[in-house]
Symmetry: C2
Subunit: 360 residues, 2 copies
């Protein structure tokens, strides 16, 4: 099949509060040059898909407030390819809209749906996997998800239990699981039967729309009312009036965990969802003292295992600090043990209670 | 004696590197509003002496680079009362100049010489002590230093061993001592015979000039060459040509430790030289978690005994940090245990080696 029917949907509407204050509501994680390469995570996601999908078929879905950031970071994306959500409604409404939008342009379309804030280090392997995935979903009318071969007993991810193989790398899905505790994660890892749920999906537009009709009838019905608007000048207005009444629900919960035509492709392309400071630490180059210095100047004395994420032209001097996050965004400084990072969301909330929106 | 012969010399040329990065070369400690009262330490020193010495007799000696800061902070001081040192030469040349300057204006002058970066909490007691001191030196042609009744076995100060009393509060000096180790400091404290050397001096201009002639003949000879310039339009030019060839030597070493007419007045007016972060911590109001938050917004979780000194409108969030200094000046962030503060000078030096003058 020609690549002209292949589309990519990059979802980039998240707020990234776990990386606060490095990630801020007005400039979340996906818009940050996390690795000091000169490209933000969103730009890296775009760069990665560009050899696979025609540029004019790359669709960005984001929150309306980030329209200027997307335009700034991806000036080559045409305005009609940027879908602006008027409200946050998780992934199912986002994907329902994108699938309608694409199907109205090309009923034969197939599509990859990907988050914008993950790290993928092995781009050439990624490219081969995506091509394999496209060929499968174009031939079989199935819903495919990428399952990452796990490399540690991670408790921060959902897992997929791999079922009966249908090709060398693609299998039926036995079950989707919630985030396990450490003990269970170890069992999953040792069994060889479980992979990480990457949140990257491939399917034809018609297959996901059928699945939504079957498994998420309310959401389907809502979009069905606006069916005639998609692909026309009326699409934007319809979304602005109706999108926020959609239920906030994930595509996993709405469709993937229910549908019978769900498959998983085992992949290993150096993936990390960068969901936590620890994950970022683990995936970043370290200096001799095992510190990660995220784009900043650090003089560290008797200090090891830290991650420094400091915006701007700043010098950080630390003494006697081990395994901490030191994040400075200019008007907020956070100093927190890596082991306590799950509490950062609560701290953001406390900051909101104390100071309103100022430091979010 | 009328107060019109009484002068005050406020020395404020220091760089305050022990408080780096809160104190910076271009805005040292004495120019900072350390306690968030709206007045810098220099301004507090000025305010404190104003009820005792006529305003037109208050002389500021500082480094030439700080002339704009002094003018900004003490706009009521006339320009001819600000002596600008072209180089740092410790206290003896500074005092020699100030004494010559004052003597040229008023041969009968008596003077108090005081640092600008100390904390004195009990101003009314200070005032009484200074008046007592002035009366003594005006009557006796002696060199008087304020000795602070010690309240802890401090190892950061020099001590004075108090000798034979000559009035209720004033005694001969037996010895000046170097900074003791903790064991010796405890012995000093228990003995009741030792007081802290405050670095605040009183004398008549003629007495200190005589003492300099006798005990620091080189320094005296140097200034003697310019004798005719002091009090004339030529003073500034003479200083600019000759001051930097003066030996860098303290008044304690040059005169006080050698002269026989040296006296100490025991005082207790809530003095702290604010020489270290720990001293500042000890002397600052603490919140419930025993943290000192120096003019900044702090959310602290499981964190106690810290001192936060953060410039600007910034939020600091810390978790699991105890007994640290957290100092942020905008382009430098320092995180260092209070117990390791003596290493800050070395860190400043390392920063200089790595980045030049940029972060000093």
């Amino acid at each position: 099949m020609s690549t002209s029917h292949r589309y990519c949907v990059i979802m980039c509407g998240g707020v990234g509060s776990r990386f606060w204050p490095y990630s801020r509501e007005d400039r979340p994680k996906q818009f940050i040059d996390f690795f000091g390469t000169g490209r933000s995570l969103l730009q890296m996601s775009y760069d990665r898909i560009l050899p696979i999908v025609p540029k004019e078929n790359i669709i960005i879905v984001t929150n309306a407030r980030y329209a200027p950031l997307v335009a700034e970071q991806l000036p080559e994306i045409r305005k009609e390819n940027i879908l602006l959500e008027p409200a946050r409604r998780n992934t199912a409404p986002c994907i329902a809209w994108a699938a309608r939008h694409i199907a109205s342009r090309d009923p034969q379309a197939s599509m990859i749906v990907t988050p914008s804030d993950h790290l993928i280090t092995r781009e050439s392997i990624f490219e081969k996997c995506v091509l394999t995935g496209f060929e499968f979903v174009e031939a079989t009318d199935s819903l495919l998800t990428f399952g990452i071969d796990p490399v540690r007993p991670e408790t921060g991810y959902g897992y997929i239990q791999v079922g009966e193989p249908v090709t060398e790398t693609i299998s039926r899905v036995k079950t989707f699981t919630e985030k396990p505790d450490l003990e269970l994660a170890k069992v999953f890892l040792e069994s060889g039967e479980f992979v990480w749920n990457s949140g990257i999906f491939l399917w034809s537009a018609s297959a996901i729309l059928s699945a939504l009709e079957k498994h998420a009838p309310d959401l389907h019905a809502s979009f069905e009312q606006g069916a005639s608007a998609f692909g026309t000048d009326g699409e934007k207005a319809w979304i602005e009036q109706n999108f926020q009444s959609c239920p906030a629900i994930s595509i996993d919960y709405a469709v993937m965990e229910k549908a019978s035509n769900v498959y998983v492709q085992r992949v290993s392309f150096g993936w990390n969802d960068l969901g936590t400071w620890s994950a970022l630490y683990d995936n970043s180059p370290k200096n001799q003292a095992a510190n990660v210095t995220q784009n900043c100047r650090v003089l560290a004395y008797e200090s090891t295992g830290n991650i420094f994420a400091v915006n701007g032209d700043k010098l950080v001097v630390v003494k006697g600090l081990n395994d901490y996050i030191i994040a400075d965004s200019g008007d907020v400084l956070l100093i927190c043990p890596k082991s306590e990072e799950q509490r950062i969301k609560l701290m953001v909330n406390d900051a909101k209670i104390a100071y309103g929106e100022k430091f979010l």
